[in-house]
Amino acid sequence: MTDIIAGGKRRVPLLRRFVGLAEAMATPHGVDRYTELIAPTVTVNDLRAQVTAVRREGDRSVTLSLRPTRQWRGFRAGQFVRVGVVVDGVRHTRCFSPCGSEHGADGRLELTVKAHPSGLVSQELLERARPGLMVDLAQAAGEFHLPMPRPRDIVLISAGSGITPVLAMLRTLVDERHDGRVAFLHYVRRPEELVHAQELRRLAAARGVAVIVGCTAADGAGDVDGHFSAGHLALAAPWVRGAQAYLCGPARMMAAVREVYDGMGLGARLHTEAFDAAPAAVPSDDEVHGTVTFSASGIDAANTGDVLLEQAEAAGLSPEHGCRMGICFSCTAVRRSGCTRNALTGEADAEPDQPIQLCINRPVGDVDIVV
């Protein structure tokens, strides 16, 4: 009745009303700040995920199954997600490409993480992840994914940890009973480094799918020997000229593939995703170099070695600030990328998208600051 009187105003769904009341009761903290203490999987706004299964493969890799909270909007095969994991009290965020099919059961996510000796997050997950662990999660992002409609013939090329986005593509295509041809060409150094070996064998049995694994440091152990070559490509996909190709791996290997494709005049058919084998290294020299990018203002300036607040002001900007000595946090801005060194503690940090205090941080090399 009231709806009609109010001129057909849409009725607020019951759940929304309930949430609104709960938020009014929980103000100023928000409902999630209460539920996280007793039932972290129940959230109103926050997206996070619970680890439901952990499978360790070899001595360096771990595959996690995650169940995201209801805010999860799914992903497209090839995209990445940001996952936040607590290590010694600090939440660190890293990007991982889910390696499961887009059509995985009830929106589950599967991540395969390879531990780098210096990788804080990957080591933590390898050594301590167990079912029940909660991690922070952000919606999937990235342009590297299979287009809609799917290309008919598809070549997937990867090496090392670069397998995850293309494996997601392969599994998605198999789930969709894709009727074109699919070649999956993957490289590892030694056979024991291969993850998802059983799964690959199973997928290889699907109609129209060719799976070839190359071992670069162990002759005779794989389907092909040595590093990527035009010969391997021809073997995996004799029909390569009419196919779209998706490539992910370390920089050297990607360059080799790019060269072969350009040589064949097929450069436009090659889609790539760069992937860093190791977390961004902190430069050890203290030489002043690089460019400071104030990305919110579109200004670039040569790094002078001063603290960022002074460099911003020298570039004609006036970021918010107060004490200029590191105590008030008014000057906090997001460092999108690059490495900075804290002038008070001497500590360097290169985690992307982290808030830092401009008045006590100096850039080390190229830095992008949202100012």
């Binding site: 009761m25 009290g89 946090f329």
Partner: protein, 398 residues
Amino acid sequence: MFALSGPLGRTITRRDAALHAGAPRPGTADPVVLTRDDIEAIGRELDALRAETVAKLGAEDREYIYNVIKAQRGLEVAGRAAMYVPFLPPVWLAGVGALSLSKILDNMEIGHNVMHGQYDWMRERGLSSREFEWDTVCPADQWRHSHNYMHHTFTNIVGKDRDIGYGILRMDPDQKWNPYYLGNPVWATLLMVLFEWGVMLHDLEIENVVQGKRGWVDVKPLAVGWWRKAGRQVLKDYVVFPALSGPFFVTTLVGNGAANLVRNLWAYSIIFCGHFPTGVASFSEEETADESKGEWYVRQMLGSANISGSPLFHILSGNLSHQIEHHLFPDLPAHRYPELAPRVEDICRRYGLPYNTGGFFRQVGSVWGKIFRFALPNTLVGRPKVPEVVIERSARAA
């Protein structure tokens, strides 16, 4: 006498730095003299202390703050639930107590400290200084400006630190007297009872509005913030929860109001003990121009006072009972202050500086003594008689 001598023979004299009675001082009548080298050495020691603590931060601190948060949420839920049984007065009263404690923890050990950036290193979205909101009517962003920046940078500089008397009280002999200040004790009592509203209005700079130095243009953005923040708080405590308790509307409303009042009295008392007890020094703008980090540290130590007490007392005061350590290291997690305190006190002792500390009642008494004393002009009550600290200023300041 508090004298700061400049390298060119300039001497600035201050008259309110009574050494705390218990402070061990070599000799009795001689002034404490800090040379430039002393000050820089103190700065280095404190920097090292900070670095040592920063290096320790980790899982332990995370666990601590989440335990406090859990306790606060638990008390809050219990307090709100007890409002449903007003016909059992002891339970209802316990509910008021639980809700008061919840608000005290929320504002002091959690809110104040999180908003200082003490837990920013955890990179946790719920504990970021830029995003955190606390359970009081004062919007967090306004508080961060007036407190984290203005008060912590310009601590106890008369004319710059509006926390000296909050613009409405006379707490220092160098504030010019006028008949309005005869009401000092009345204004202080009102501020105590309505503390959260006083804190909210802090950024308004009421004295400047009265003098016509600030107009509607300056005030409007603040007022928008108050409306938004205080509106929600009032709605929660005085409409939503009372309404949800149905027939017990009035008792719940009274209970929530009582919890806010208890928090106000407590927060006011703790906070006034931070800078107003006798013996705390204040400074002038000239003598603090172009300070070095060491000089800044020394001013923080001379300008703050601690309250001694049990571990629980420290938690309930948000560790502002360690005001000296807080002012030296405002961005270190406050629960680390107790372990820093003996080290800071040791530095003070070695350099003959006062380390102002005392029990709660002594410090509160001393604060109220000042409130009454400075209601009257200096000509009537005189200036407090205090010993001398001589600080040799760095050459830059000349």
